[in-house]
Amino acid sequence: MHIEPSFRKRYHKALSDTAMLKAVKNGTGRLRGQRATAIEAVGTERWMAFRDRAEAIRLHVIQHLDQYLDQLINNVLKNGGHVCLAKTGEEAVKYISDLAKKKNAKTILKSKSMVSEEIHLNPALEKQGCNVIESDLGEWIIQLAGETPSHIIAPAMHKNRFQVADLFNAVSEEKIPTEIADLCGFARKYLREKFLGIDIGITGCNFALADSGAITLCTNEGNARIISALSPTLVTIMGMERILPGLEELTVMLSLLARSATGQKLTVYNTLSTGVRNEEELDGPQEFHLVIVDNGRSKQLGTKYEKILNCIRCGSCLNACPVYRNIGGHAYGWVYPGPIGAVLSPLYQGMDKYGELAYATTLCGACTFACPVKIPLHDMLYALRNDKVELEKTGGVVEDITYKGWSATFATMSRYRFSVRMARRFQFPLVKAEKIAYGPPPISDWLRHRDMPALPDKFFHEIWPEMDNDRKE
């Protein structure tokens, strides 16, 4: 899929895609409604206690990441699994590609992994002749469409049943009706055959438990469960921060994850797997590889953005975000959309590429309050804007002039009063019936959609002396 380099062009394209917007509004609306109902059932107070606990657990892990990673690696190795430590996405891709070559793998089945999207794994494997198939229904749909996910937990949220039917008909021998149940039925049948011929399975990782080396996978469809049961060689890709100390912490996270993501009490299939099957067992992988990816994460440790590593990828900040709800996921440009993407993209991929995203938000704070692990997302968006000004020495030419002028004017009452009187005197060409409907930049864009009140005959600071005198009399 062609991605426009400029955010402005991307979101304009989104704003004109009515079918997509309708689907996204429907999807986010349902998800946040279900989440609200789930929280109500838990009780707000207990929910807050859950969030506090989860935040504390995550923060502790992040600030002791070396210790937990060390423990995890040792346990995975002890359990007979192999571990690849990849500083960059390229290193991870190379390791997995080499493995596929070594195994002479033809059919590779994947369950959802945002990290694999991040490192562009599929194209690399396809280039060397592997048939890579996404098994999560939503992921498969967008794979067939040649697109990237538009939502962290509902990757094909932007598509409707008719679009899906077209995509399925392109790979199906018989014509498939557009009923959703039929579409799902076709996916089951088609992908089931693929599952049975699997050479290598690739999964993401919801949580890795340091004390046992177990990998937790959460899917509603059961695809990750099937892949880890049937793959002779299993590869799990994880962001290096996705660790928990042990089972007890996991129970807190699973309880939060499902409710935040979809409003379920628990995801249908939660699987804990320690990797390689033992000698007597017949299913499960004979070979297990855990690929631990840094790819920009370690840079965040010890910074004011460190808590971004708390994220458990539930997607609830997307549903809460008014901007996401009105432009969908693709406009954000990189893998992670919504508020989490607006913070992660510039942090992982660079301000030069994705700095604009920090401005793609109303700073309403809904994301922060939706976050189950209490990442102060909107504070981070402020901080990113500040970084742009401080580190790049500019927030844009117009802004630089505006705010330097603003602080010089607004810090001194006489200058403030003089300049606002000037503005009032010279606003007349724009004013019609006490309203302003057209104007020069930077308010021109504002005025395309909205009116603005004209400055009044008297400012409040001009009225105050009368009010004060009247009182004294």
Binding site: L59, V83, G138, R161, V268, S273, V276
Partner: protein
């Protein structure tokens, strides 16, 4: 078991991390002691309380789209199994090699029905069992521990005879357990795991809450996309 191999430069990978997590100004966040405290129901239950848990489980399981049965004795068990065979038009089923299931003598129950039942393993070699397993229309498992509040079967593959394949591949899943297996929620599960396994977890443990589902097309809930579409819980009275 032979230890795995490590690829990549461990020192280089860790050096940035160690450098960056140097003590933050407020000190590092301490480990959360008792992370589950106050969040989950923690209690020992009596037989009577477990009767209530059965009701709770049935409510949750049914809401999720499953079917559940309270069963008093082996006669009722046979009736329910036969009903399911009818309902699903079952021909072939497989079941876990589990001592509790062994006691129920499932072959006997199946013997006067249209369906056949086989105990795992079906074959010893992957290429042989995979085809057979894929042809199975139902998998029968024993619910080692079951959470009532969330309607969740907890299925640790405690022995090679209890693979996850049985619980996830067939379109119909039948889980049998007694009220003695019921706990409120995660607190009971963690206690069970700590006592039985410590940190030495079984190769796989599967938590199943209802039938496989997806909302990936237009957010419309659809049941049975990859895993089980029909899930039955058969809850026996405890001895």
């Amino acid at each position: 078991m032979a230890e795995g191999l490590l690829a990549g430069d461990r020192e280089a990978f860790f050096s940035t991390i160690r450098q960056n997590i140097k003590t933050p100004p407020g000190g590092k966040a301490p480990r959360v002691e008792n992370p589950m405290n106050g969040l989950f129901t923690q209690r020992e239950t009596t037989v009577e309380e477990r009767q209530d848990l059965r009701e709770r489980f049935i409510k949750e399981w049914t809401t999720l789209g499953g079917k559940a049965f309270s069963i008093k004795n082996r006669v009722e068990l046979a009736q329910v199994i036969k009903q399911i065979i009818q309902e699903r038009q079952l021909q072939k089923a497989m079941y876990w090699d589990h001592p509790e299931l062994e006691n129920l003598k499932l072959e006997e129950i199946f013997s006067d029905t249209q369906a056949s039942v086989s105990r795992w393993p079906l074959e010893k070699k992957y290429n042989d069992w995979i085809g057979k397993a894929a042809a199975m229309e139902a998998g029968i498992v024993w619910g080692d521990i079951v959470m009532a509040e969330t309607g969740t079967l907890v299925l640790p593959a405690s022995s090679p005879g209890q693979p996850s394949t049985v619980c996830v591949l067939p379109i119909t899943l039948i889980a049998i357990f007694t009220t003695a297996q019921l706990v409120d929620g995660f607190a009971g599960v963690v206690k069970f795991f700590k006592e039985r396994y410590g940190t030495n977890l079984p190769t796989t443990t599967t938590f199943i809450s209802g039938p496989s589902r997806t909302t990936d097309i237009e957010m419309v809930l659809t049941i049975g996309v990859h895993g089980s579409r029909y899930v039955y819980a058969l809850i026996l009275d405890e001895a």
